[in-house]
Each structure stands twice: as structure tokens, then as C-alpha cells.
Symmetry: C2
């Protein structure tokens, strides 16, 4: 296994959970990225600073994906670092949810979760487009890949309309709707940016899914991170605009 080789990565939601796991995983790759931008709501957070300690290739950045000014400031900082090489990989990992049933779901929940899970990745992708394009051009005629230029949207199997996973365990309409909409955004990004050499894929990291049937059970954070990074290393042009899980299996919309 060669691992993921990529010049620069921006990863949102590094305050904890999967974001922090992916940050560790990137640092443990055989050829770690030259630049890792660990975007956090709280850049002073203990957890992210511990993980980044002693790694000069990690820059911890403040980023609120629901605030255009915060996104703009992050773009400027990344630009100063990567210069003409651009940004190779944007991982839209920030996400939120509210536990709810059909009886308790509210407009407030729906709006709040959509703003973070769907509008956030849209605005972040729009803002980083120039840097992603630069990376795609800098890598010239190479085939599309996460090493050249890509946007990875961290989605969820709960966002698959076809599968409708774990309905009995958690309804969370606000979350399911936001992730189905995020999957639509992935498809739109693939259609729009594909011609610029930027790959866009939705990924279900798996460990958010509660235990169910055999083979569909919980996955540890470490297994999830290993699976996701292995998947990213393998994605190519034919996968543009598709939906995958951490095991490298294609998911239906």
C-alpha cells in the first residue's frame, strides 16, 4: 500500500472526532503532505494542538464554515503558504447534527444543520476554487486524483435516500436531509469543476453508524481513518461525482 501522496491538504473540523483522526492519519502516511491546514472552530483547542505538536508541516487555522469572512481569511493564509502550487485537496469534514424524531423535528434544527453541513461545504468550495484550480494546472496533464486537485465531502450513509440506514435507531431528519443535499452538491461540484481537473467525491466515514446487521456494524475511528485515506489514494477520474464508504464500496444516492 503506497498511501496518499499529496502536496497540500486543507481539512475542516479538526476540533475533534473524525477531523482529528484524519489529521493524525495524514501525518502517519508514508509520504505526509508538505502542508496540512488543520481548520478548527477553536484553534487554541488542546486536542488539535497536541496532535500538531512537533509537526512543522501542520498549520492550525481558525475557520467557521458558516462565516464568509472567516473562510476568506483562511483562503488568504493558505495562499501565502502554498503560492503557485495551489491547494491539492480540500476535505469538507465539518458537520453537525441534532438528534430528533419526526415528532420533534423543527425548522430551527433543519436550518442550523443545513447551514453547517450543506451551505458550509458550498461556500468553502467556492472560496478555495482558485487555489484548487491552480493546483490542477500545476500538476499539468496528470490524471484526476486527490494528489492533483480534489474536494472530498464527508457525507454519511444516513444521507443515502436509497439505503435509508438505521431508521429505527435514529431518525434525525435534519441530518439526513442535509447529507442528501450535500451529496447533490458533490454531484454539482463534479459537473462544474471536473473540466478544471478537480475531482469531487462524497465519502461516508462509517463510524457514525450505530451497530446494525453483520458487516454493517460500528467501525473504530482508526479503521475509518485508514479506510478513508486508502480510498482517497485510489480515487480517479472515473469516480468523479460519486459516493463511497470507508470500505471502498460505492454507495447509491
Amino acid at each position: 500500500m503506497e498511501g496518499l501522496r499529496v502536496g497540500s491538504v486543507l481539512l475542516t473540523g479538526c476540533d475533534g472526532g473524525l477531523g482529528l483522526g484524519l489529521l493524525k492519519g495524514l501525518l502517519e502516511q508514508p509520504s505526509p503532505p508538505r502542508h496540512i491546514f488543520a481548520a478548527c472552530l477553536d484553534p487554541q483547542g488542546k486536542a488539535v494542538n497536541e496532535v500538531a505538536l512537533g509537526f512543522p508541516n501542520v498549520m492550525i487555522l481558525p475557520l467557521d464554515v458558516t462565516d464568509p469572512n472567516s473562510i476568506k481569511a483562511a483562503v488568504r493564509k493558505v495562499q501565502t503558504e502554498v503560492r503557485s502550487a495551489g491547494l491539492n485537496l480540500l476535505i469538507n469534514n465539518t458537520g453537525t447534527t441534532r438528534r430528533s424524531t419526526f415528532a420533534t423535528e423543527t425548522a430551527e434544527n433543519m436550518s442550523l444543520v443545513y447551514t453547517t453541513n450543506t451551505i458550509g461545504p458550498l461556500q468553502t468550495s467556492q472560496a478555495f476554487l482558485p487555489l484548487l484550480k491552480k493546483a490542477a494546472e500545476a500538476e499539468g496533464q496528470r490524471e484526476m486524483s486527490c494528489s492533483r486537485a480534489a474536494i472530498i465531502n464527508i457525507s454519511s450513509i444516513l444521507g443515502s435516500i436509497e439505503v435509508a440506514e438505521a431508521w429505527e435507531e435514529r431518525q434525525d431528519i435534519c441530518y439526513r436531509c442535509s447529507k442528501a443535499a450535500l451529496n447533490m452538491l458533490t454531484k454539482c461540484l463534479a459537473l462544474e469543476y471536473g473540466s478544471s481537473g478537480i475531482l469531487c467525491v462524497s465519502v461516508d466515514p462509517g463510524h457514525v453508524t450505530p451497530p446494525l446487521e453483520q458487516g454493517m456494524g460500528p467501525v473504530t475511528l482508526e479503521e475509518s481513518v485508514r479506510g478513508v485515506l486508502q480510498l482517497l489514494a485510489q480515487l480517479s477520474a472515473t469516480n468523479n461525482g460519486t459516493f463511497w464508504d470507508w470500505r471502498g464500496q460505492r454507495l447509491p444516492w
Copy 2:
């Protein structure tokens, strides 16, 4: 063709367009509904009042699907009319859009369109659930159908992530994401309310699609209405939680 036979229907978005067309179409059925609740943003509107003129089975109701108090008031009025028979059919037709490209899409557009197209149908369905349940019970052991109890969400082929229709003609990310999320809502409604005998289906009325290839071209409002009502007359339990177009063809998510 027997047409759609249903005791009571509430149809949102009767101010114009497809809503007004469906209202006309329902009145022209061989056995028109005993009660048609034509929900409008402007119940004084000329168009809807002209269509309803001379039809004592039509009640024009004010309804803003983004306002919980407005929805509650509508539920009370419907309840007074239908009493123990309940409401057989709720058609969530109200929708809005903003024309946009990837370069011009905004958080404001995204929120506004999601609020009307996705949160609106959620809140309307939640509020009318008791009346829909009552209708499902009143019709006893009959198979699921639009005549017994159903929620029809007027979606769009533009909300199909798989098809990604008409991308070159209109991007409208805000609209596509809201309709993909609405399709998720349809699936969730089907899972949740199905056991109560309430059918839930997404329908693409077709005429919003601009001309494309042969066979995918524009459809007149009349053809769309005829097709949608014919489809509704044929839906049964096996179609619960699925997505169809006005031609009676199943659509992928």
C-alpha cells in the same frame, strides 16, 4: 381511465402555475373530491378565485408553509370541514427557486429555497398527520393509495442526484439541493407514516424542465397535470417512498 377518486385534498401553492393547474385538473375528474382545500399565499388572488368560482367543493385557504401559525390555522379550518373522515390527500406543491450558477450561488438563496421547498413540506406534513391518520383509519383495511391517505411531494427531476438533468441550461444549486433533500424527506415520511397507512411519494411534474433531447422536452401544463393525476390514481403500497415523473416513469434518486 377511471381518474382519481378521493374524498378530500389539500393542495398547497394554488396561487398560480402547477398548483392552479392541479386544482383545475382535480375539478375536471370524473368524480371530483368532496372537499378541495386550495391553499394560497394570497387567498384573494384573482386566478384561484376564478378557477374556484361556482365550485362549492373548493375552499380557498391562506397558507404560508414557512409559518407554523399559518399551518396550524389551516389545519383547524380543514378539521372543521372534514371531521371524522380526516384528510385523504396532502399535495405539498408550494415551491420556489432562485436562478444561480456556481459562481453566483449564495447562503441566502440556499437558506431561503430550503426553507420553502424542504422545511415547508416537513412542517405541513407534521401538522396534517393527525388528519391523514384519521383518513387512513376511516378507510379501514383498504390498500394504501391516494384515495385512502397520502402525502405527495412535488419534487423535480433537477433533484435527482443520479440524473443531474439540464446542468448546462440551469445550475440553480439552491433548488437542486432543496429538492434532493425533499426526496430524502419523502423517504423518511414513507418509513415513518407508512405503518399508519399513509403513502408518501415524490413526483416530478416535468414542465419545469427546459427543452433538451428528444423525449425529454418541455411538457405543457395540461399534459403535466393530466399525467400527475393519472399517476396519483395508480399509486399503491409498493410505490411507498419512491420518485416518479408525470409520465408514470420511476426516477432514480
